[in-house]
Symmetry: C2
Subunit: 411 residues, 2 copies
C-alpha cells in the first residue's frame, strides 16, 4: 500500500485544489501559486478546483483551472477571499468514501487543501482514510489563517494583511478618539489566539496613543479588572482605546461572547463574529460602572479578513510561496502528505523558509500567543511581540500630529 | 457697525481656525490648506488653532499654527481625523459673549470653522451674535462631512474617502459572502442622508455582486418588506448582502435604531454609531422570520470615517481647496461671512468650483438624496447615483473572478 501511495517521483495524474474555512486577503495567492507551479510539473495532468472545499468534492462540482488565462489568474491572486468558494465542514468516514469515489473517477492523485487548523484536520482525516482504504492520493495542506494560530508556523499567510488592517483601523480610531475623547472598545477576531488583537499595538506612534488596553483570549478576562483598567487609563489620558479579542474568556475558559451566542459549526466552533453583542456588553458595563458618558464599541467583523485594498506585501509573497512549495513537496516523491509551514530564520534580518511538516502536527489543535508576547499585566503586549509582528505587516502609513505650541493666555 | 465689521480688504488681525463634529479622513487637508493660504496674506497676522472647536475658544486653549513646520503640516494634512481636536457643541448667546471676549483679547478678526451642518449653524450663530454685539469678526465655515448632506454642495469633503472605504469594504464582504454564502447585513453611517450607504453600490463588479439590497433613510423602512426582499434575493442567488443606513426610519420617521439607543448631543442628534444593536436586530429578524441559518451583521462604525490608508485622491484635493478658498473669501473684503460650497460643472468631464454661499444656506438643515438617485423599488440606487459618486471615490482596486469552467461529471 505504501508503494501504491508513494511510488517515488513517478506518480502522475490529475490534481485538485480547494479552499476551506475563513477567507483571507491573500488566500488566492496560494491558490494561484499552486496552479502556476503545477503547470511546470509533468507529473500533474489536469488541474482542477473543487468549489466550496469538501462540499464540491462530495457533490462532484469541479472546475478546470487550466482554462484560466494567466492574466485572469493574476487578477484573482490579488483579489481577497476564496475564489473557489469555501466551506466549514469536517468529513465523516462516509464523506471520505464518497470523496475517494469522485477522485477515482477523475483520476485525481494530488489533493491540496488551503486552510487553517480545521482544514488541516480535514486533510489529515482524508489522508488517514485514504491510507486505510488503500486509495492512492497525495494529501497536502496549504497553511492560511488570519488568526495566526497554526502550530509549527512562525506565522501564517493571511495574518499579515489582517494585522495590517487592524493596525490601520486602530491608527485611525485612535486619532478619532483623540479628537472626540471617550472610551472606545474595538472587538477583533481571534477565537483562541490573540495575535490579531495584539496587532492593534502596531498602531501606536506617539507615547499616549491607543490602544491603551489589549485583552487576549490567552489571559482570563475579569469584568471588574477591565472596568478598573479603563478607569485608570481614562483618569490619565481623558480617553481610552481598548482592543478586545472576540475570544476573551472567563476564569473557567468560557468565552464571554458565548453567553449571548449559541451557534456552532461542525468543528464545534462557536460563532463569535457577525454580531456586535460582545462590544455592546462591554460598553454598557463601562457606562454603568465607570461613570463615563461617551462610550462606544465597534466590532471589526468580516472587514478585517476580506477588505479590498489593504494587503501586506510580505504576506502576499509568502502566501504565494506556500502554494508553490506545496506542489513541489507533492511532486518531489519524498512525501505522501504534509503541510507547509513558514519558519523564520534567527537574526535581525527578516528571512523565512517554507518547510514540509506532518499533517498531524498542525491539525486540529491551535497555537496560542507565547507568554513572552504578553505583558505581565495581562492587558498589553510586549516589545518582543512588536518586533515579531512588524515585518509581517509591512510599513504603515505615516501619522502626523500638530506640535500645537500654546498661545499664552491673556485672560 | 457694518463698516466696523467689513471695512473692505483693509481688515487686518489674527485668525483662528477650529474643527468640529465628526472627523473625516481629509479634514486636516482643509486645515492645512487654510493655514498655508493664510501665510500668503498680509491681512492675516497670527494663525491660531482652537483646540476642540468651540470648547477651546471658551477655555482660551489656542495654539500657534505659525510654529508648525511646513513638513509637519503636510504630514498632518495626510493624517485622518481632526488634528486640532473636535467637539459637538451648539453655542448659547452666553457662550458667544465669552468667545468674543477671548477673540478680542487675542485681536482675532478672522474665524474659520471646519465642519458639517451643525458646525455651519455654530458659525452662523457666532456670526449673528457678533453682528448684534457689534463685534468685528469675519466668520467662515469650511464644509466637510462624510454624510454628504450639506445643502448648496454638490458633495462635501470627507464623503469621497468614506465612500471609498464603504465601497472597498463591500467589495471584500461580497467576496467573503460569495465564498461562505448566507445573509450579511452591513450597517453604514448616515443619520438622515443615505449617500454613504448608497456608495456600497460602487462595490459591484459582476452582475450577481452585492450589495443586493440598499436601505436608505430617505425611504420608510418596513421590517416585513425587508424580510421579503431578503428572501427573494436569497432564493435567486443563494446569498444576500444588505447595506443599511444607521438612520433608517419607520413610516412615522422614527429611526429604527432609536428604539434601542437614547443618547443625544446638544444639537439634538441621537447617537446611532458605536453600537451593533441595529445590525443585530435586523439579523435576528431575518433568522427568525426568513428561515435562513447563516445570518451575520457588521456595523462599520467609526472605521469608515477615520481609517488610515483609504483616501480618495479627488477628495483630498478638494478638501485642501475649500480650506484655501475660505481664506481667500475672508481676506477678499467682499464678504463678512460665508461658507464654502463645492459645485460641479455640467458635462461629462468631472470639474468642480468652490463658491462662497451664505451661512444660513448650509446651517442646520441637511440635504437628502435626490429622488433620481433612489430606485423606484426603494431598496437600491440608480445609475444616475453611480455616475454621480464614481468620480468622488476614485478608481477602485481591480477584482478578479475565476471563469471556473466546469469539469464534466463522471458519476
Amino acid at each position: 500500500m505504501a508503494t501504491q501511495r508513494s511510488g517515488g517521483a513517478g506518480v502522475t495524474g490529475n490534481m485538485v485544489i480547494a479552499q476551506s474555512g475563513g477567507p483571507t486577503a491573500v488566500i488566492n495567492q496560494s491558490l494561484v501559486g499552486a496552479i502556476v507551479e503545477a503547470k511546470k510539473h509533468r507529473e500533474i495532468k489536469g488541474i482542477y478546483g473543487s468549489l466550496h472545499g469538501l462540499k464540491g468534492l462530495l457533490e462532484e462540482r469541479l472546475c478546470d483551472l487550466r482554462k484560466e488565462s494567466p492574466a485572469n489568474l493574476e487578477r484573482v491572486a490579488r483579489t481577497p477571499s476564496s475564489a473557489l468558494g469555501s466551506v466549514r465542514k469536517k468529513p465523516t468516514p462516509e464523506d471520505c468514501a464518497k470523496v475517494f469515489e469522485v477522485l477515482r473517477r477523475h483520476d485525481i492523485r494530488f489533493f491540496f487543501y488551503i486552510g487553517g487548523n480545521d482544514s488541516a484536520e480535514t486533510t489529515h482525516i482524508i489522508n488517514e482514510e485514504a491510507r486505510k482504504a488503500g486509495f492512492p492520493i497525495r494529501c497536502f495542506h496549504i497553511c492560511k489563517t488570519i488568526d495566526n494560530d497554526l502550530r509549527e508556523n512562525d506565522h501564517t499567510p493571511g495574518y499579515g494583511s489582517a494585522a495590517r488592517f487592524v493596525a490601520q483601523a486602530f491608527m485611525g480610531d485612535n486619532l478619532d478618539n483623540r479628537s472626540l475623547p471617550g472610551v472606545k472598545i474595538n472587538v477583533v477576531m481571534g477565537r483562541h489566539a490573540g495575535f490579531l488583537t495584539a496587532a492593534s499595538a502596531l498602531a501606536r506612534v506617539f507615547p499616549d496613543d491607543g490602544p491603551h488596553l489589549i485583552y487576549l483570549p490567552e489571559r482570563p478576562f475579569s469584568m471588574e479588572r477591565f472596568i478598573a483598567d479603563v478607569q485608570a487609563v481614562y483618569a490619565k489620558h481623558g480617553r481610552c482605546i481598548v482592543a478586545v479579542s472576540e475570544g476573551i474568556a472567563d476564569e473557567k475558559g468560557e468565552p464571554i461572547a458565548s453567553k449571548f451566542i449559541k451557534e456552532t459549526d461542525s468543528h464545534g466552533n462557536v460563532q463569535l463574529s457577525g454580531s456586535g453583542a460582545l462590544g455592546d456588553l462591554l460598553a454598557a458595563e463601562v457606562k454603568a460602572k465607570a461613570n463615563i458618558s461617551r462610550v462606544r464599541a465597534d466590532t471589526f467583523g468580516y472587514l478585517q479578513r476580506s477588505f479590498v485594498g489593504v494587503v501586506s506585501p510580505v504576506d502576499a509573497r509568502e502566501a504565494r510561496q506556500v502554494g508553490v512549495m506545496a506542489v513541489r513537496f507533492a511532486v518531489s516523491g519524498r512525501f505522501e502528505s504534509g503541510s507547509t509551514a513558514i519558519r523564520r530564520a534567527p537574526g535581525r534580518a527578516y528571512r523565512t523558509t517554507i518547510e514540509r511538516v506532518e499533517l498531524a502536527m498542525v491539525a486540529k489543535e491551535t497555537r496560542h500567543m507565547p507568554g513572552e508576547f504578553i505583558a505581565p499585566s495581562g492587558n498589553d503586549v510586549t516589545t518582543a511581540f512588536l518586533d515579531y509582528a512588524r515585518p509581517l505587516v509591512g510599513e504603515l502609513p505615516e501619522i502626523g500630529r500638530l506640535k500645537a505650541v500654546p498661545v499664552a493666555r491673556r485672560g
